[in-house]
Symmetry: C2
C-alpha cells in the first residue's frame, strides 16, 4: 500500500487524488465552493479517508499564526469545582472552534513551574484562577491575552476579570443566620491568600457590624478536612461564650467543622449551625446536609471563555458578576435558647 511509518501529509493525499496540494487544502478546509468541482472534491475526500489523513496541527498553527487553543490554569486541589469550570469553558470554546488545555498548577510546595513549558501546546490565550496565583508572574511575563477568574479587579494589572458574586453569597448567608437569631458567629477562614477569600471576610464583617450586639470571631485553617477540624476544635475550646454558628469559607472546611463538632459532642444544627460555600457533592454526603451557597461552576467557565473570546476579538468583555444562590438545608436552625 502507501508509504508507511510516516504519517500521510496533504501532499500524499494530493498525489493519491491526482490533484495539487493546494486543492487538498481548499477541499479539506471547506473553502472550495466555486474553486474545485464537486467530483474532484469528493475524490480528495475519499483519498484523505483512505490514507487516514490527519492535518499536522503544528504546521497549521505555524501557518495561521494562531492555534485556537486556550490554557485554563486552575489550582490542583479543589478539583470538583474546577472540573465544572472546565466543562463550561470547553463547551463555549467548542462552539467557536476552540480547544481548551488544562494546567493544574502542581499542589506541591514552591511556585508553579512555568505553565507554558509544561502545557507545551501553542496558545492563543489564558484563563487563570486567582487561586493558582503563584503561576501568575510567569503568565504576565508573556503578552498573551489573559482573563482572571475571581480576582481583584483593581489588582489585576489590566487583565480582564470574571467574578462570581461571592459578596452577595456571603450576604445571603449572613442574612439567613441573622434572621434565625444568631448573633455570635465563628468565621472558619481558608488560610490561603486570595482575593476570593478576602472578600468573604470583608463582607461577613460588614454585614454583622450593621447589627448591634453581634460578634465575629475568626479561625484560619488550610483547605483540608483535617486542618479544618483542628482549627475548629481549638476555636471552640477557647475561653469566652461559644458561637452559635460557624460560617465556613468553603464546603471542605465545613466538613472538617462537622468532625470537630462531633468530637466535642455538639449537635448540628441544635447546638450550633454550620454553613459552607461551593455546594460540592460533599455538601449532601454529610449528615445533616449542609446549608451552603451554590456556585454555578459551569456558568463561571462559560463566562470566562466568553470574556477571553471577546478579548481575542478586540472587544472589551462585558463585566458583571455571576449570581450565586443560597441553598438552605439541614445544618442551620435557630440558636439554642440558653
Amino acid at each position: 500500500m502507501a508509504r508507511s511509518s510516516t504519517r500521510p501529509t496533504s501532499r500524499d493525499v494530493a498525489h493519491a487524488a491526482g490533484v495539487s496540494q493546494a486543492a487538498v487544502s481548499l477541499v479539506l478546509g471547506d473553502k472550495w465552493r466555486g474553486r474545485v468541482s464537486e467530483p474532484t472534491a469528493e475524490r480528495v475526500r475519499q483519498a484523505a479517508r483512505d490514507l487516514g489523513y490527519r492535518p499536522n496541527l503544528a504546521a497549521r498553527n505555524l501557518r495561521l499564526g494562531r492555534t485556537r487553543t486556550v490554557l485554563l490554569v486552575v489550582p490542583a486541589l479543589t478539583t470538583e469545582f474546577f472540573a465544572g469550570v472546565y466543562t463550561g469553558a470547553a463547551r463555549v470554546a467548542a462552539e467557536h472552534g476552540f480547544g481548551v488545555v488544562l494546567y493544574p498548577s502542581p499542589e506541591g510546595i514552591g511556585p508553579a513551574r512555568d505553565p507554558f513549558a509544561s502545557a507545551q501546546a501553542a496558545l492563543d490565550g489564558v484563563i487563570a484562577s486567582s487561586m493558582a496565583a503563584d503561576a501568575l508572574t510567569d503568565i504576565r511575563g508573556d503578552q498573551l491575552p489573559l482573563v482572571m477568574l475571581d480576582s481583584d479587579p483593581a489588582g489585576s494589572l489590566g487583565a480582564a476579570t470574571v467574578n462570581l458574586d461571592i459578596a452577595d453569597g456571603v450576604r445571603q448567608v449572613t442574612e439567613h443566620l441573622l434572621g434565625l437569631g444568631h448573633r455570635r458567629v465563628l468565621h472558619l477562614a481558608a488560610d490561603v491568600p486570595s482575593w476570593t477569600f478576602d472578600i468573604r471576610a470583608r463582607e461577613l464583617a460588614a454585614r454583622m457590624a450593621a447589627v448591634p450586639g453581634t460578634e465575629v470571631r475568626t479561625a484560619r485553617a488550610p483547605i483540608s478536612i483535617d486542618g479544618a477540624r483542628t482549627a475548629t476544635e481549638a476555636a471552640l475550646t477557647a475561653p469566652g461564650p461559644r458561637p452559635t454558628a460557624i460560617v465556613c469559607d468553603d464546603d471542605k472546611l465545613a466538613a472538617g467543622a462537622y468532625k470537630a463538632l462531633r468530637r466535642l459532642g455538639l449537635r448540628i444544627p441544635d447546638d450550633i449551625s454550620v454553613t459552607g460555600l461551593d455546594d460540592l457533592a460533599l455538601a449532601t454526603a454529610i449528615d445533616p446536609e449542609l446549608t451552603t451557597v451554590r456556585l454555578d461552576a459551569e456558568l463561571f467557565g462559560e463566562h470566562g471563555m466568553r470574556a477571553l473570546l471577546a478579548v481575542l476579538e478586540g472587544h472589551s468583555p462585558d463585566n458583571g458578576d455571576i449570581p450565586v444562590q443560597l441553598v438552605v438545608r439541614g445544618s442551620t436552625a435557630p440558636p439554642p435558647t440558653p
Copy 2:
C-alpha cells in the same frame, strides 16, 4: 501600552545580538559548546531576555516532528482520583521534558467529541482511562502510541495497559468481611460498562463462593450519591433476609448507601457494615469514616507515563499491577447477633 504587534522571533534576537539566527538557535538550544564563544553566547541570552523572546512552539514542533506533549484522557466525573493520576503523570513527564495535556471526556450524553479536535495540541502519545472508553474508537483510528489505564489486557487491541491490582483490593475487602463473620453481602455496583468494574464483581463472587453458606446480591446504580441511595433503598426493602454488609464499587456509591441506611434507620456499623473503594476525601468526611481500599492515584499516573515513555522509545513497558491497600475504619464491624 507598547503594543508590540508581533512576538519577537529568533531572527529578531539574532539581529539584536549581531549574530545569525542559527547561532541563536544553538545557544538557546544549549547545543553550543565548542560552536559559539562564551561572550557571544551571553550576548545572545541577554538579547533574548531583553526582547522577552519565547520560542514559537508550533514552529519547533513542526521542525522536530515531535511535540514532547502527551494527552491524558480521563472521565470528567470522578475528578478527585484523576487529579492524582494527572499529578503523578505530569511529574514523571516533567522529568523527561514532556508536558501533559488533559482531555476530560465530556460528561454529557453521547459519544465524546474527537479528543484530537478538542485538545488541539499536537501530540506524541496518549494515555487513556478505560472509563472514558467512548473516546477510544477515535483514538484507535490514529496510530498514536497508546497506553490504557485499568483496561482489560486481553481486549485492548495490542495497546499497552497499566492496571491497579483491583482484584487484590476486592480480595482484601472480602477477607476482611468474612473474617468479621459476614455471610450475606450486597454488592452495590457501578452501572458503568468498564473492565475495572467487571473485575470487582468477578473477584467478589469468586471469593465469596469459596466459603460455604455465603450469598451475594447485586444492586446497580449510576455513580452518584443520589443514584446510590435510591438503589440501596430498593435493594434493602426487597423481600428476603437483609444483608449484613454492603460492598460498594467506589466511595461515592458508599456515601449514597450511608444516606439510604440513615433513612431506613439502620446504624453503621452496628446493624450493617459498608465498604468503599478509592479512599477519596469523602471517605473521611462522612460518619463513621469509611473502610475502603486506598488507590494510589499518583503512583498510577506515574506508572502510566513511564509506560508511555517506554513505548515511545521502542521498548515494551514492564507490566505488573500496582498494589493497593485496604484501610479499615469505622464503617465495618462484626454482623449483629440475631
